[in-house]
Amino acid sequence: MQIGISDNDIIRLVRRGEQSAYAELVKKYQGFVFTIVLRYLPVREDAEEVAQDVFVKAYRSLGDFRGDSKFSTWLYTITTTTCITFLRKKKLEVHSLDNEKVLAQAENLDSGMAANLVEQKSRSAMVNKAIAMLSPDDAQVITLFYKGEQSLEEIAQIMGQEPNNIKVRLFRARQRLKEKMEKHFASEVRDLAS
């Protein structure tokens, strides 16, 4: 259905009352939204609940979407604020997970990567594990920049910060990620390279 149709066209259809067209937007962005939510909430059940809430909120607020920015930028902004609100309500710790204990936590994450890291030895699994060791904000910046197709300005808008701050954060996040990979997965990286 509606292959190649732009986000704005879908939104126009939904606003006209064709509610089912919204399923296309959900299908297109559910992976991005769910991944960003998982950066903040590592428990999949919580993340799925919040991701669902994000899409419902976005639907209800479609009247306010003026098209000044990309739909994805607008949606990720809702995602970030919903995550923060959820964390505040649940009074969970939002502080950085940037410590050694997190390796054990990361191992316990049922993050959809079914295979064991050692067995799988894939670079992708290592990168994703290493990202899970970063603070939620660092992980989000990297995800939005590399997978969300968002510019620094757009990430700044999503996270409610200045573009220069995001530039610095992205730089530091990549440095930290590189260090994590070198520290925790050095042998795997060598095995893959050889």
Binding site: F34, V127, N128, R174, Q175
Partner: protein, 171 residues
Amino acid sequence: MNEHPSMDSLLWEYIDGHLSAAERSTVENLIANDKEWKQKYEDLLQFSVSLGEDISLEEPSLRFNRNVMEEIMRHHIAPATGSYINKKIIFGIGGFFLLLIVGFLVYAFGQINWTIADSGTRIPFKVEDLHLERIFNNTYINIFILVNIVLALVLLDRYLAHQKKQWKKQG
């Protein structure tokens, strides 16, 4: 942690395409002529390409899409904020508070005896002479506040009447 922060940050900006033409040319020269820069550049570039290729997105459960669609069946798209927020009301409320502040300042300055001042650096009144409790107990101030409250209620009444008319029109 990092021996060459400026080298790293410059190279990252170069890789991300955030440098000006002149800066780009400088970095390109350094990469071409300096082994250390070249090695670092290749290292970071490989890392950047790997991030682009290797970060994978998580997928929610198979029922996710259906759950969302079932949930939104119970909701409606809310009207755009701009369509129901009347700017006149916002300006009215702003004006009301402004009037309140200006009125208070005028009254407060009116209470000061300026003739006492004999030097540019001294405060023209004694702080201990300023009895705030007297100002707030003053009948005129009470009347002023009362008038403002009445004005606020009138504005609120007009706003609600306006909304009622709009709803009737839409209905």
